[in-house]
């Protein structure tokens, strides 16, 4: 049995799932000042009548990191950058950085060394900081400078924690890695405290299973491993929902999914049964980071979106002014329209009818008014989906083969989850001309997603056979190549052994490994081939343990 908990903006949901079924579900109000309180409330309810020893894993999707960022509960970070030549990012990072000399070029070669005296000076200036982030340009191709700076920090000050930019992500983009490293250090202590408390509280209820946390990329990691990479646990709510959709509906081929909640609809596009990723990483506040996440669009349309006429024109959302009138709210909402249209059945139907009477244009019946409201809401979602498809089709490509092929997504099915999906998803599907599926259990999709999410981990290997070395950024590894005759297939083999090593260290089983990216270039100098540059990234595919069938 798997236990999943999703901390939402209003409610904390918990489910126990097993053998493709939701065995137990519970709901408790989210306690914003102390998230753990609400989590334990939901946990105690969901465990009623369940043997805690039979739980195989607990997975948490929590807003602990997101809230810390949004509410500015961030620890002061000593941010040290080795930018080398290029764009000046000093004013583009969340904290005034210390700039250090020393440069690693695009091939991972040192072109000038870092200086210990500069780090010592930085330590004097940053005497009030206990957590540090160090990021160097091209450090993913040679982490030695970042590591040297970390050593000097330990020598000259007593850091509680140091995040290295090369360890937070294996992909190019110094600016994003610097931002990621900063946020990772800034939430490290706060997250650690939460993680220890959560671990202890779960154990205190007789659950002996490991506790995992959900990441923005839809994978989980053990709380212990998450301690050093807390930034990856940002924005897990939408990721949980997407995983829930995978668990409940398993859309195949190309699809679009909607999580239609109280105030917003989260939209995701799917290809080959998997949600599309935001290629470069998530944005935290105003800062782009290297945190891997699903590519989602959130629009202000949901069940509680207020409905009004402006100059005769019907508008829906984006504001919420309270619950549906059927539930005692002050203004007509989308949910009231759904109740009148027969797509939902809760609250006081008389008040819902009253809401549609307020909404109706002169001479319009309440049924017609309800249909009009739902059409406007569905149209807003439909338009947003169209924009996402356009953006995807317009995404730059770097190969001729990809430039001449039309890559425009063509979803064949729409999956809707969330409280307001039953009323709206079929209308959006009709506009798109695709099949619609609203799986049973859709109301607790997020918690199901957290429960069923598999642990994931990735490694990025880059080999430079002309120089005879390779790096695995996530491991801080730079090592000699076993042979100069080294192929892409060899690189994948080597990467997969490092993936196994990294997984073992994090306590993650190695299943369903996939190659997410590779490239191979011949190096030609003076009209002859002198070597190859090979890069590949392997990951344990984000996914779910089992497909759930109904609540």
């Amino acid at each position: 049995m798997l236990l999943g908990i999703d901390v939402g903006g209003t409610y904390t949901d918990a489910v126990v799932v097993a053998g493709g079924k939701v065995l137990s579900q519970a709901k408790a109000p989210t306690t914003h000042d102390d998230l753990l309180h609400g989590i334990l409330g939901a946990l105690d309810q969901v465990l009623a009548g369940v043997d805690p020893a039979a739980i195989g894993r607990v997975a948490l999707s929590t807003t602990i990191v997101t809230n810390a960022v949004v509410e500015g509960r961030l620890e002061k970070v000593g941010l040290l950058l080795l930018p080398g030549p290029g764009m000046d990012i000093s004013s583009l990072v969340p904290e005034r950085p210390w700039l250090l000399s020393g440069y690693i070029d695009h091939r991972g070669r040192e072109t000038s060394p870092p200086k210990e005296a500069e780090v010592a000076a930085a330590c004097r200036d940053l005497a009030d900081r206990e957590v540090f982030a160090v990021a160097g340009k091209f450090a993913i191709r040679n982490p030695l400078h970042e590591q040297a700076v970390a050593d000097w920090l330990r020598r000259h000050t007593g850091p509680a924690h140091i995040t290295l930019g090369s360890a937070v992500a294996g992909s190019l983009n110094f600016w994003r890695r610097a931002n990621s490293a900063y946020y990772n250090a800034a939430v490290w202590r706060h997250f650690g405290r939460f993680a220890r408390a959560a671990q202890a509280a779960v154990a205190g209820r007789g659950v002996t299973a490991p506790v995992h946390i959900l990441k923005a990329d839809g994978g989980t990691m053990p709380l212990a491993a998450a301690g050093s990479r807390p930034v990856e646990a940002v924005f897990t709510g939408p990721a949980a929902s997407v995983l829930g959709i995978m668990a409940l509906a398993a859309p195949q081929g190309e699809a679009v999914s909607l999580d239609i909640g109280g105030t917003t609809t989260d939209i995701a596009l799917w290809r080959d049964g998997a949600p599309l990723f935001a290629e470069r990483g998530a944005k935290i506040g105003d800062y782009p980071t290297a945190v891997r996440s699903f590519w989602l669009r959130s629009i202000g349309v949901g069940g509680d979106s207020c409905v009004r006429r402006e100059g005769g024109r019907l508008t829906v959302g984006p504001e919420r002014r309270g619950p549906a009138m059927a539930l005692g709210g002050p203004v007509p909402t989308v949910s009231d329209a759904m109740i009148v249209a027969g797509a939902a059945d809760f609250g006081d139907k008389g008040k819902a009818i009253e809401a549609m009477r307020i909404t109706a244009a002169g001479g319009e019946s309440v049924q017609d008014a309800a249909r009009a409201v739902l059409a406007v809401a569905a149209d807003a979602i439909y338009t947003a989906i169209g924009k996402m498809i356009d953006e995807r089709a317009a995404e730059p490509v770097y190969r001729v083969e990809d430039a001449v092929r039309d890559r425009r997504p063509q979803p064949a099915v729409l999956v809707g989850v969330g409280g307001a999906s039953a009323g709206l998803a079929p209308l959006v599907a009709e506009r798109l001309g695709v099949r619609c599926s609203v799986p049973a259990g859709a109301m607790v999709a997020n918690a199901v997603g957290a429960a069923a999410a598999r642990p994931t981990i990735e490694v990025t290997l880059r080999a430079d056979t002309a120089q005879g070395y390779y790096t695995v950024a996530e491991l801080g590894l730079r090592a000699t190549l076993p042979s100069r005759r080294f192929s892409l297939a060899d690189a994948r083999d080597l990467a997969s052994s490092h993936l196994a090593e990294r997984a073992a260290a994090a306590g993650i089983p190695v299943v369903d490994v996939e190659s997410v990216y590779d490239e191979e270039f011949n190096l030609v100098r003076g009209f002859s081939t002198t070597g190859k540059i090979i890069a590949c990234r392997l990951q344990i595919k984000p996914g779910v343990f089992t497909t759930q069938e109904g609540a």
Partner: protein
């Protein structure tokens, strides 16, 4: 941050090479990709990246006369590269961005009007295809092209040699010392377009100082005087001190400040083959400069290796060059009238053109009607011979954009007359008024 963003079309064609070890190979923009992605340039709010569209054969036919046709010489890569230039230009024209850079390959500035094959790594002229697209679809008339590649942009010069509405300025390493061996000061345009081709051969070893002297004292004033609707920069990067195919001494800072001063609406990458030591830095510098951002920290790690200091001889030569070409620009109308009078009814030029990549020698005779009412129709008789292609020949006539009735008829008559004689394999009319390429 710029008020209006800067547009970037980046297309490194990672799966395309002329031949596996050719300078135009997959690896060429790999380190440039590494640098601009690593810098985070594609995430800056003031920079918007565009996916290149595909140019059409019609876009190419508007500029080129392919023998037997353009399609038999090009690959999809050429259509993406030319399409990338068009994408950049349209982003500017539509006002989505203030300026744009098509950082694309394969390059184009050695591709001439008539195309029998590939020369100087170029098959179709991507700037010319872009410029004529703007003229046809976006009402642009006066175009200025500044070619900052180390090699003379002989293809672009050829295409616009008779067009007084297109100013073509090229600085380059002196043609006596470098491919393609042209671009001397006496190549100044045919009589009706005299002075709108301006060549600035620079001595090998020219530094930032020398280049900026020419830029400040000649190129910028001439551009201001011409008052173009649009300024295009053929942004080759092989004047860099580390380029393996040339002998100049320009730095990334020199290129970036050039871009900042030139303020081109659209830049299009041309050559540049120091793929590790120059391109990552020069491209970063140009992008930042065009986007109006600080580029002062973009310095090559091996900057100590850059030669510096101009010789007194070079300094004197550059002063004399600027003086001579300034005079040519000032007196261009009068000089054009003299040249027209000397030519009579038709201006004629015979040339040999070599396609180094395809191993083809072409012999070409151009005849341009010196017409008082329009740009005049042009005929081109072309015979080419090569290892692989054997013999191929064509007789073509070009109807100018706004032809007088006599020139429209004259072009047609000339092709029909040549066809009756039957000396050539292909007979073609390129009609710029109606945007057609007809086989007769």
């Amino acid at each position: 941050m710029a008020v209006k963003p800067f547009g970037l079309v980046f297309f490194p064609a990672f799966d395309w090479a002329l031949t596996p070890t050719h300078p135009e190979r997959e690896e060429r923009l790999l380190y440039t990709r590494d640098q601009i992605v690593e810098e985070g340039l594609l995430d800056i709010p003031g920079i918007r990246e565009y996916k290149p569209r595909l140019a059409t054969l019609r876009d190419a036919d508007r500029v080129h006369i392919g023998v037997p046709d353009i399609a038999s010489h090009i690959t999809d890569a050429h259509l993406v590269s030319a399409g990338g230039a068009i994408t950049a230009a349209e982003a500017v024209i539509k006002g989505e961005v203030a300026r744009a850079f098509a950082l694309v390959r394969p390059p184009g500035h050695h591709a001439m009007r008539v195309v029998h094959g590939t020369r100087g790594f170029c098959t179709i002229n991507i700037e010319a295809v872009m410029a004529e697209h703007l003229r046809r679809h976006h009402g642009v008339r006066r175009v200025a092209i500044v070619d900052t590649d180390v090699h003379h942009g002989d293809g672009t010069q050829d295409i616009f040699y008779h067009d007084p509405d297109t100013l073509f300025i090229s600085f380059h390493q002196d043609g006596r010392t470098l491919y393609p061996g042209s671009g001397f000061t006496d190549e100044a345009g045919s009589p009706r377009a005299y002075g709108t081709t301006l060549n600035l051969p620079l001595p090998p070893g020219t530094t930032d100082e020398g280049l900026h002297y020419v830029l400040d004292n000649l190129i910028i004033p001439v551009l201001e005087d011409f008052r173009p609707d649009i300024v295009i920069n053929s942004a080759g990067q092989d004047n860099h001190y580390s380029d393996p195919l040339a002998n100049m001494a320009i730095t990334a800072q020199g290129y970036a400040s050039l871009a900042a001063k030139l303020k081109a609406d659209i830049a299009v990458l041309e050559g540049g083959y120091s793929i590790e030591d120059a391109l990552p830095y020069v491209n970063t510098g140009i992008i930042l400069a065009m986007a109006g951002l600080d580029y002062s920290r973009v310095v090559e790690p091996d900057i100590a290796a850059a030669p510096h200091g101009l010789t007194d001889g070079a300094r004197a030569y550059l002063r004399e060059l600027v003086a001579r070409q300034s005079a040519l620009w000032r007196d261009r109308e009068q000089l054009g009238t003299v040249a027209a009078a000397k030519a009579g009814d038709f201006w004629t030029r015979r040339r040999g053109i070599y396609y180094d990549d395809s191993g083809i020698s072409e012999q070409q005779v151009e005849k341009l009607r010196i017409c008082p009412r329009c740009h005049g129709y042009l005929t081109v008789a072309s015979e080419a011979e090569g290892h692989h292609c054997g013999y191929q020949s064509a007789f073509a006539a070009v109807v100018p954009r706004e032809p007088c009735p006599a020139c429209r008829q004259g072009a047609k008559d000339a092709v029909l007359a040549a066809k009756r004689q039957g000396k050539y394999q292909h007979y073609i009319i390129q009609d710029k008024e109606n945007d057609l390429l007809e086989r007769v």
